[in-house]
């Protein structure tokens, strides 16, 4: 059987030269994202904004969206969004937070139910009061920051500082672009979005670390190679893996976007953007070339490994020894 081979062996693209294009593009996109975030803001969902959300289904084509609109506008509940979803007679009703504390929010559901009657199916009802929405928002922000800090600390322990800084900048870039995307396309920003952002963060770093690991290994092995060439070589030798993993994750996410249902649709779409479009691009075109500017060279790794380990051992072996200690039985390949 002939196997599929997406990336040919021994590619040798000059990825580092792309930085003259990719850096300005990323800078531009980041600015666009920031401007969108500052002017359009995020489309806060009910979790963070508070208010009431009802998903209602009218059975057997009895939905008359105009009628629903007139009825609900008659209730004088302030800002009410009515949106037909799907083709199954389903309507999504969002009522903005009411003035007058927690009880006022609860009253909304009663009024809407009384108006629309019992002939319809109430598929989902969510009411988030002002206090809870405030808390959820601060939890979300604290959580994101906590994750970034925890990951930074881990990277700092595990790698030299130049790598940690490079990964953080790349990370920040991912988050900014994803938030910009959500802002421009008015995707609901709620707790699930925070989950999506955190996953994008973790995944994008995962990708970056795979390449960084390789760069570090190369630095130990080829002490005389110019840094541009070394970085290029590292990215090229991990390219096949990057592409294949990229495809599998895309396939999994595609299934979620197409079949995962509306409840996680905004989550899936955000992940698709963040992981598939941004994450992989960042690792190759931003995180790796950044190391040139951060002054990574053979000495960076040498000094760090000398400080951490006893001198005199082969540099190439060190990389493997990091983890393999307890599982490896060196020298006893299967015979």
């Amino acid at each position: 059987m002939r196997l599929l081979r997406i990336v040919p062996d021994d590619t040798n693209f000059d990825f580092m030269r792309f930085r003259r294009i990719s850096f300005p593009i990323s800078a531009l996109l980041s600015i666009v994202a920031l401007v969108a975030f500052l002017t359009l803001g995020l489309n806060f969902g009910i979790d963070f904004k508070g208010g009431t959300l009802l998903e209602v289904r009218y059975p057997n084509n009895t939905l008359d969206i105009g009628d629903v609109r007139t009825k609900l506008e008659g209730l004088q509940l302030g800002e009410v969004q009515i949106q037909e979803i799907g083709s199954d007679g389903e309507v999504l009703i969002r009522v903005a937070q009411q003035p007058g504390g927690e009880q006022a929010q609860q009253a909304v559901v009663g009024k809407v139910r009384a108006t629309l009657g019992d002939q319809v199916e109430y598929r989902r009802v969510e009411v988030v009061g002002p206090r809870v929405s405030q808390e959820l928002l601060s939890y979300g922000i604290i959580g994101l920051m906590l994750a970034v800090v925890a990951i930074l600390i881990y990277l700092w322990f595990r790698f030299e500082w130049q790598f940690a800084l490079g990964a953080s900048i790349a990370n920040f870039h991912d988050i900014v672009l994803t938030i910009g995307f959500m802002s421009i396309f008015r995707i609901d920003f709620d707790l699930t979005s925070v989950a999506a952002l955190l996953t994008i963060l973790g995944y994008s770093l995962n990708d970056t670390i795979v390449i960084y690991d390789r760069i570090r290994e190369m630095l130990r092995r080829y002490k005389k190679m110019p840094i541009d060439e070394l970085l290029n070589h590292s990215v090229n030798s991990t390219l096949s893996r990057s592409v294949i993993t990229h495809v599998t994750v895309t396939l999994a996410l595609l299934a979620l976007v197409l079949f995962g249902g509306r409840a996680i649709h905004s989550f899936s779409v955000t992940m698709m953007f963040g992981v598939v479009l941004v994450g992989t691009y960042t690792s190759i075109f931003i995180a790796s070339p950044l190391l040139i500017y951060l002054g990574v060279n053979t000495r960076t790794v040498e000094e760090a490994s000398k400080a951490a380990r006893e001198p005199g051992k082969g540099a190439a072996k060190d990389a493997a020894k990091d983890v393999a200690k307890d599982v490896a039985k060196p020298g006893r390949a299967a015979t």
């Binding site: 196997l3 599929l4 997406i6 062996d9 998903e55 927690e102 009880q103 609860q106 559901v109 009663g110 199916e121 109430y122 598929r123 989902r124 009802v125 988030v128 206090r131 809870v132 939890y139 979300g140 604290i142 959580g143 906590l146 925890a150 990951i151 881990y154 699930t192 925070v194 989950a195 955190l198 996953t199 973790g202 995944y203 770093l205 995962n206 990708d207 670390i209 795979v210 690991d213 096949s240 893996r241 294949i244 495809v247 599998t248 994750v249 396939l251 999994a252 996410l253 979620l256 079949f259 995962g260 249902g261 409840a263 989550f267 990091d322 490896a328 039985k329 006893r332 390949a333 299967a334």
Partner: protein, 532 residues
Amino acid sequence: MLYFSRWKALAIVAACAIISLMAVPSLLPPAAFNDLPGFLQRKIVLGLDLQGGSYIVLQVDQAEVRKARLEQLRDDARRVLRDARVGYSGLNIQNNAVQVVIREGQDAALALTKLRELAQPLGGVLQGSGQLDTSVSASGNTITLALTDAGIQSRTIQAVSQSIEIIRKRIDQLGTTEPSIQRQGADRIQVQVPGLQDPSRLKALLGQTAKLTFRLVDTSMSPQQAEQSRPPAGTEILQSQDNPPTPYLIEQRILVAGEDLVDAQPGFDSNTREPIVTFRFNTNGARRFAEATQANVGRPFAIVLDNRVISAPVIREPILGGSGQISGNFTVQQANDLAILLRAGALPVPLQVVEERTVGPGLGADSIQAGMTASWVGAALVAAFMIATYGLFGVIAVFAVAVNVGMILGALAMLGATLTLPGIAGIVLTVGIAVDSNVLIYERIREEARAGRSAISAIDAGFTRALATILDSNITTFIAAAVLFYIGSGPVRGFAITFGIGIITTVFTAFTLTRLMVALWVRWQRPQRVPI
């Protein structure tokens, strides 16, 4: 890297099998599940977003806790000062404190000592920390009894505990399966009731304080007159629960209260066939009710629930038996619910609903369907791609990922964790990411082979080098999942759980199962050439 002792190999297979098999009980029909021995009766709980149900967060109103304690303190102060025969004026509640002015300067010291005794130690007398819930201070002739923050805090916690007990009693009466009632933070209660069609009844049951009192109606003037002028001292105007409401002028003095009820049942009035609630008093309540009705034959008395008049019948004859009935144009369900509320007792303070999320059973079923479809499609696509890319090694990877998913489900069952729709998304995502560890290993093997190593040596080196990277790269993702678990709630936490467990099982299978399978293949085939 490719050598496994027989025992190690067995241990790996056993661990994978046992953890995966823990998922099986969750797939069994309920009857078969109940036949299992106890230690196997662990199953994955479906989140409310999948099985339908209501998630409600109630909050104890701290202001109410404060108000109730201050009123109690004021009444106690009045009693203490009266007992000590100390003249005072202006006993009132001001800015979170009770203030009183002692008339005679020489009484101030005595009053201060007496009032100090009202302060209660925190955490009970036995395990008290020495702190008091009230600070009593004097300036000149004015004595101030202020509530300490610690005092309010401990009373709030107490109120939450009592409320949880009462809510549990109320919900148990609804006959729903497996409700969960938990404290959340210092002043909140989280209620989860699966499989409820309409949560408005549940909310009505939770949102009512259900403070029942029997009081006399003041007939010295009509309620309308009282509304226009002022209600006489010791009375207040309360509205009936009808629509439109009728006002009543009711005495503030309570004849008997709901605490003295021992039972309440819904029933029908034998004459009118109307739904009613019958109740019985305890001995103390029966005696007081008998005395009150004896003394007031011919006068109307009111049955008041949470400051609303349910009914105000006229006492025709003394009620001595200690039981009675409440009628008030109820529907059958209203009578039923009132009986439930009276049996369970009153909440110590009013509770507010601060968050509600209800998913109807229809949407839940649709979500399960969507999750299943997405899972199968995602798995099939990934499997097809992996096999197309790596052939036999692809099959090994797919098998490892399948075991991986089995282990996630098994771990969920063992932990009794909740599976939500985002949780299913987490599993699908894990499938996409778990194969990454295989990809890393296989690509590395190919590279090593290209660099001129023999097949076996390339496979060995491929594993050794890739595993370091796999560990490094997964730890960051795991940190993100852990943070998410910490901050998230409900469905989002469900995602964090499956995603986090998925990362652990991914690393585990990469280090053990994949390696074992490749090692067995190598031993069997003795390849001259790397097959990928």
